[in-house]
Point group: C3
Chain length 201, copies 3
C-alpha cells in the first residue's frame, strides 16, 4: 500500500469530504469559523472516532500538521470559490466515493493490524468511512442523512469490507485492497446512477 496513486486518492478523498462539509455548513448560513469547523469535522471525524475506539492516541490528525493544513486550505478555497465549485458537483461526488472506499479500507486495516476480529473490523472500516458525515449532520442539527432513505452508502462499505476479508484469503493483500476499494466506489456510483436504496420499515 501507500503507492503514489493511493496517497493522491487519500488526499482527494480528504479534499472531497472537506468540501462536502463546507458546503453543508454554508447552506445553513454559518459564519466563516463555523464553516471551517464543520469542514474539518467532516474530514477527520471518522478516523478520529476509529482511533479513540481502538485507543490509538494521540489521534492520527494530531500527529503532524499536514491534515490540518490541507483541510484548512481546502475549506478556505471552498469558501472563496463557492460559486465556481458548485459547477463541479459530479467531480465532488466522484471524489467522495473514492474517499469513502479508501477510508473504509484504511480503517479496516487499522483494526486488523490491532488484532481485532474480522466482523468488528468491517464495522470499524464503515465507521471510518461514514462517521465524518454523521458528525457533520449532528452538528448542523439534521438527522444524519446516511440513516435516512438515500442511495446505498454505508451498505457499500459493509459489502466492500466483507469482500476484502474474503479476497485476503487467496489474493495478495495489496490487490485485495484495491479490488475492495474499487468495489465500494463502484457500488456507490451505481447506487446513485440507478437510485438503489434500502427499504424503510
Amino acid at each position: 500500500m501507500k503507492l503514489n496513486e493511493e496517497i493522491i486518492i487519500e488526499l482527494l478523498g480528504t479534499v472531497a469530504f472537506t468540501i462536502s462539509g463546507a458546503f453543508s455548513a454554508m447552506q445553513k448560513r454559518l459564519d466563516v469559523f463555523g464553516v471551517l469547523v464543520i469542514a474539518f469535522v467532516t474530514a477527520i471525524g471518522g478516523g478520529t472516532l476509529r482511533d479513540v475506539l481502538i485507543g490509538y492516541t494521540p489521534v492520527t490528525w494530531m500527529r503532524n500538521m499536514n491534515d490540518a493544513l490541507i483541510i484548512l486550505g481546502t475549506a478556505l478555497a471552498a469558501i472563496f470559490f463557492k460559486k465556481y465549485i458548485k459547477n463541479f458537483k459530479t467531480t465532488l461526488f466522484l471524489f467522495d466515493a473514492l474517499g469513502l472506499g479508501l477510508f473504509t479500507i484504511i480503517g479496516m486495516q487499522k483494526g486488523l493490524d490491532a488484532g481485532l476480529n474480522p466482523v468488528v473490523c468491517v464495522m470499524l472500516g464503515t465507521i471510518t468511512g461514514c462517521f465524518g458525515g454523521v458528525l457533520r449532520d449532528v452538528l448542523l442539527n439534521n438527522i444524519p442523512t446516511i440513516f435516512r432513505r438515500k442511495e446505498l452508502y454505508a451498505t457499500a462499505c459493509i459489502i466492500g469490507g466483507m469482500l476484502y476479508l474474503s479476497l485476503m484469503q487467496f489474493l495478495d493483500a495489496n490487490i485485495a485492497r484495491l479490488v475492495a476499494i474499487i468495489c465500494i466506489c463502484g457500488m456507490r456510483i451505481l447506487a446513485v446512477v440507478y437510485g438503489w436504496k434500502l427499504p424503510v420499515r
Copy 2:
C-alpha cells in the same frame, strides 16, 4: 459475579436496549441500515463512553464479536417482527429496567477496579446505564428524554450506586451488587407505576 443468572440478565438488558433503539428509529422512518445503527448505538453507547473515558481500549464490544452479533440478530428480529413486538411493551420495559440496573453496577465496578474515587464511580455507572439512550436521542435529533420530565431514570442509577457504595462496607460484594441492582430496577418500575418525576424549575 458472573453467575449464570447475571449473564442472562445482561443479555436481556442488551436485547431490551437494542429493541428500544430499533423502535425509536423505525418511528422516525429511517431505512434498515439506520435502524441497525441506532439499535447498536443504544445498546453499546453507555459502555463505550465509559471505556473511552477511563482509557479501556479497544472498547469492550470490539474485543470479540458476541455483542455485535447479538445486537445485529436482535435488531433484525425487531425489524421483521415489528408488529408482534409492539404487544410486549411491558416485557420490554421490564428488560430495560433490568438492563439499567445491571449496566449501572457493571459500570461502577469498572471504575472501582480502575481505582477511581467513589463519587466518580457513581457517575461512571450512571453514564454506562443511561448514555446509550442519550446518543440514540441525539442521533434522532431529539432532546434526550432522560433530561426532560419523565419518570425517574438516571436518578434511580445514582441512588442505587450510592446504596452499593454503602452496602459494600459491611456486606459481601456480590450481595451488595445484587441488592443495588434490584433497588435500581425496583425504583424505575415503581417510578413508572406511580408517576414519580423530578421537578422542573
Copy 3:
C-alpha cells in the same frame, strides 16, 4: 503557572461555564437532573474531549472528585437562586471570558507537554475552551452558537493561542501565558462591546 490567582480564575471559569449550562437547560424546561447534566457537560466537555484525543485517561475530572463537587454545588445554586443570578449577567459574562482564556491556554499547554506540533496545539486549546458549549448546544438540540453569527469566540482562542506560541520564543513561559490569557479575555470582551463578528458566506 498555578499561582493562587490562577487557581481562583480557573475555579471562576468552571463556575461560569456551569452556570451558563444550567441556565440554557432551564430555558428549555429540563428537569432538575437534566439541568445538572447539561451544566456538568458544559463545564467539563472541552477538557474531556481534549484528554480523549490525546489519550490522557482516565480524563482529568475523573482523577479526583473536586471538579464533580464544585460543579454539582454550583449547578444546584444556579437552580435555587435562578431569579437572583439573572441579575448578574455581566458578571457571568466576564467569568465566561476569563474561563475561555484560561481553559484555552491550559489545553494548549497539555498539547505542548505531549510533544504535539504547535498548529495542532492551538486547535487543541480552542477545543478545550469551546467544546463544552458545543456539546451543551447539541444536547439541547440547537445548532452550536459558536458556529453561527455571534461575537468572536473561538477566533479569540485561535489568535490568543498563536500569540502565546510567538511570545514563548523570547519571553518567560509564565509571562507569555498570562499575556495570552489576557489577550483572549480582552478580545472576547471587546468583541461583545463593539459587536465584532465574522462574515457569513
